[in-house]
């Protein structure tokens, strides 16, 4: 009897897991905002194995499919904070050494922080974390999912998103034109040295290949005893691999973008100049005074991750934000700049203000659809993860947010958040 009871209890305990594993889910929504496409009224989203299997108005749903009723609600892809500090241990944010492109942000994360669920509850399903601003070149950033896992490996969507650099960021609120110029030249120098390094490495590889060939010939001859010892080919000098240069070489080979944080006009222009000179993929980060050189940015191939939209997110007063203008995002996107919005907040928990940042950008002139795209699909595209997240499309991850109203409506409440089809947040109080 007791055993039976225990069995029943156990069965009930495991039932949800068993069923959640394989079962398909269908979300029947009021309005679906796929972002990549026009809104779908009364749309259905079919989720299978954590991926979006089908999407549209007339989707056939089998009887055994679990249905989430989102009638009258808005459904959109999970939002992305492209300037997050979530999970990042403050001390691990910066390495004192100035050029440290080889560092990986994944080594400085604390997956146990308690703020993550709070951020997810606001519809943010992924964050991009990058090293801080105190190093000129600070290392490589990564995109993480807020799926509640405490295992960095399971949170990780993609590492090596970009190498992070900073030009002209003030320390202790002191900045000088000369100091900012020095930053620029140090980064330039690092890239030049990397070019030389690449050249030397190629040369070494050629020599090594030649040596290998000669050596094998020599070895053959030696076996046949048809050669003198003096003919033994000389081994080229050993080439010392340099991890910093290797990481930067990937930038110069365009395998990974260089993300440059630049606030003031001169620094932004210097970043564009660097991208021209070295032909790498440039992501302009922060871009505070971008609105003053919008034409120049639009004319370049650079993409922009803009933030903070309002200085209220930052610890003020800061010199970099002296000419901050809340219309920055509107002006840049008007000129056709490919633009993502980030929160760039004081701490990790600030990432929950992504939708707020987008609606502030809208309030100050940015097109509503573009503002929404700037926290979803555009971010995913700039960060190179658009194959997995950023929009509701067949084949993409089922990272889905359900809201009581339009996401940029200030009083809309997030009702439910799914990551890869699993519920990570569900609103309980209906106050």
């Amino acid at each position: 009897m007791k055993d039976l009871k225990r069995f029943v209890v156990l069965a009930f305990l495991f039932l949800p897991f068993l069923s959640a594993g394989a079962q398909e889910i269908a979300i029947k929504a009021g309005t679906v905002l796929p972002i990549s496409d026009a809104p779908i009224e009364n749309g259905t989203i079919l989720i299978k194995d954590g991926k979006i299997a089908a999407l549209g108005q007339n989707i056939a749903v089998d009887a055994d499919v679990r249905i989430i009723d989102a009638n009258g609600k808005f459904v959109m892809p999970g939002m992305i904070d492209a300037q997050s500090r979530l999970f990042v241990i403050d001390r691990e944010f910066n390495e004192r050494r100035s050029i440290a492109a080889e560092l990986n942000i994944l080594d400085g994360l604390d997956p146990y922080i308690k703020e993550a669920p709070e951020v997810a509850a606001q519809g943010v399903t992924a964050v991009y974390v990058a090293p801080g601003t105190r190093s000129l070149i600070g290392g490589r950033g990564a995109v993480l999912k807020l799926n509640g896992s405490k295992d960095v490996g399971k949170m990780l969507l993609k590492s090596d998103i970009a190498v992070k650099a900073a030009i002209g960021v003030s320390f202790n609120n002191e900045s000088s034109s000369l100091g900012r110029l020095a930053n620029y030249s140090s980064i330039r120098e690092a890239l030049l040295e990397t070019k030389i390094y690449m050249h030397n490495k190629e040369k070494h590889e050629r020599e090594q290949a030649e040596y290998d060939k000669k050596k094998s010939e020599y070895d053959k001859k030696k076996k046949a005893r048809t050669t003198e010892k003096a003919d033994k080919p000389k081994r080229p000098a050993r080439f010392r691999l340099n991890p910093t240069r290797e990481a930067l070489a990937r930038v110069l080979r365009k395998e990974i973008p260089l993300q440059i944080e630049a606030h003031r006009v001169t620094d932004i222009l210097n970043a564009l100049r660097l991208a021209d000179e070295f032909d790498f993929t440039l992501i302009l980060d922060k871009c505070t005074e971008g609105y003053l050189v919008a034409e120049e940015i639009a004319g370049s191939k650079a993409t922009v991750i803009l933030g903070p939209v309002t200085t209220s997110f930052a610890d003020m007063p800061r010199l970099e934000y002296r000419n901050h203008d809340i219309r920055n995002a509107a002006i840049l996107s008007e000129k056709g700049v490919k633009l993502a919005l980030g929160v760039s907040g004081r701490d990790g928990a600030s990432s929950k203000f992504v939708a707020l940042a987008a609606s502030m950008a809208e309030a100050n002139g940015m097109d509503r659809d573009l503002a929404l795209r700037a926290v979803t699909l555009t971010s995913a595209e700039i960060l190179g993860v658009a194959d997995r997240i950023g929009s509701l499309e067949v084949g993409k991850d089922a990272d889905i947010v359900m809201l009581s109203g339009h996401p940029l409506d200030s009083l809309s409440q997030v009702e439910m958040v799914l990551i890869e089809g699993k519920t990570v947040f569900e609103r309980k109080d209906q106050q």
């Binding site: 703020e115 709070e118 509850a121 309002t310 200085t311 209220s312 997110f313 003020m316 007063p317 010199l319 002296r322 809340i326 907040g345 004081r346 701490d347 928990a349 600030s350 929950k352 203000f353 707020l356 609606s359 502030m360 809208e362 309030a363 100050n364 002139g365 509503r368 940029l408 409506d409 200030s410 009083l411 409440q413 106050q431």
Partner: protein, 390 residues
């Protein structure tokens, strides 16, 4: 001929008037609006606000518009009273902390913050763009006895009387920020004792010659002027309340973020709270605090503490508080009438009602929607900001 010249002179005069300041002439303006958020008397749909000599003459659905009135057609738009930032530090130099705090003397009662204010600062125009028409310019929180805040109307380039109150009450701080390692007091108990000593001296009213500190503190202990007391954490709020109880002060709690934890005690004492910007606190439960404080019957107003946060985010505080549980109607009051009442200027500001200053904000959507843009701002019936269409 002479007449014509006079006429052309008049025309030029009126044009130049129009160019320098819209409608500076003492005429009647009728604002036709889609929604009027009067704050004290509900929302009027398709109403009219009649403004005469800078004051609101009447407001309602059926208001007689005389023939000479200049009609501003804002049908489809929302009108709300000018917002009041109950505590900020704008127009001071960038090195804000040395501008608003006296760091050598702990007691700086006679410090008039208005002396540090730059009326030509761009901050003023920025505030107007965001629909903030009145501010309390306050000293910082690093002096136990901190000086005299001012209440300013921001039509600085248009009027002479933009200083509404030159010295409104006295600021105190029982925050840990008021404790510095290189000057006394260095402990909370020392800080409390210092404030008591100063208040006792003022209360005693001994005639020992010129003593500006005593004369100013007499205003709060004798003349019942408002004491603005900075206190963020529960313990700081408790300290503030101790002083309030002992000296029977009329007081306002400034930046009392954790007030929700002892909201009943604050309500018992009838102490209003000037709430710090919600974007400063980022933990989720903090965003619910403002709603909980007001829910306990405490009168609440918002502040930007600019440049700590952007002054434009005064409205963001109200929106976030509303999203996290503050009653929507109250949220709007916190931006307007509550702030006016707390600052003691509700006879002139804070609502759209007869006899009050025509300080109005016209938005293209509801006030508690961040995406609603501010189209026009008026102070005393004069347009001080108008959104340019690109």
């Amino acid at each position: 001929m002479k007449k014509r010249r006079f006429l052309s002179f008049l025309v030029i005069l009126s044009i130049s008037f129009c160019l320098t300041s819209f409608g500076n002439e003492p005429q009647v303006i009728a604002i036709r609006a889609g929604k009027i958020w009067t704050v004290t008397n509900g929302v009027i749909t398709d109403g009219i606000i009649l403004v005469k000599d800078g004051k609101i003459q009447s407001v309602g659905e059926n208001v007689d518009v005389s023939e000479g009135a200049k009609v501003l057609d804002m049908s489809g738009k929302n009108v709300m009273p000018g917002m009041i930032d109950a505590h900020c530090h704008i127009g001071l130099s960038l090195d804000i902390f040395s501008e608003m705090n006296e760091t050598v003397a702990a007691v700086a009662a006679e410090m008039l913050i208005l002396d540090a204010f730059n009326p030509y600062s761009d901050d003023v125009n920025k505030a107007l763009r965001c629909g903030v028409t009145t501010i309390m310019l306050a000293p910082g929180n690093r002096n136990p006895v901190g000086g005299l805040p001012a209440i300013l109307k921001l039509d600085i380039n248009k009027a002479n009387d933009w200083v509404l109150v030159r010295a409104a009450g006295v600021e105190f701080s029982v925050m840990n920020e008021a404790l510095m390692f290189d000057r006394e007091p260095t402990s909370r108990a020392g800080l409390m004792e210092l404030i008591r000593e100063e208040l006792d001296k003022a209360k005693e009213d001994k005639d020992d010659g010129f003593n500006p500190t005593r004369d100013i503190l007499k205003r709060v202990v004798v003349a019942n002027k408002t004491a603005y007391i900075w206190a963020r954490n529960v313990d700081e709020i408790a300290s503030a309340m101790a002083i309030v109880d002992e000296y029977e002060l009329k007081a306002v709690l400034v930046a009392a973020e954790q007030g929700d934890e002892i909201a009943d005690m604050i309500a018992e004492r009838n102490l209003p709270v000037i709430y710090p910007p919600l974007l400063l606190s980022s933990r989720d439960k903090d965003l619910k605090r403002a709603g909980r404080i007001a829910g306990n019957g405490v009168k609440l107003a918002f502040s930007s503490l600019a440049p700590k946060t952007d002054l434009c985010d005064l409205r963001t505080s109200a929106v976030l508080a509303a999203k996290y549980g503050l009653d929507k109607e109250t949220a709007l009051k916190c931006l307007t009438i509550n702030a006016a009442e707390i600052l003691g200027v509700a006879d002139r500001l804070g609502s759209i009602s007869e006899g009050k200053d025509a300080d109005l904000v016209i938005l293209n959507g509801e006030p508690l929607q961040l995406t609603s843009g501010i189209e026009m701002v008026m102070i005393n019936g004069n347009i001080v900001y108008q959104r340019q269409e690109e």
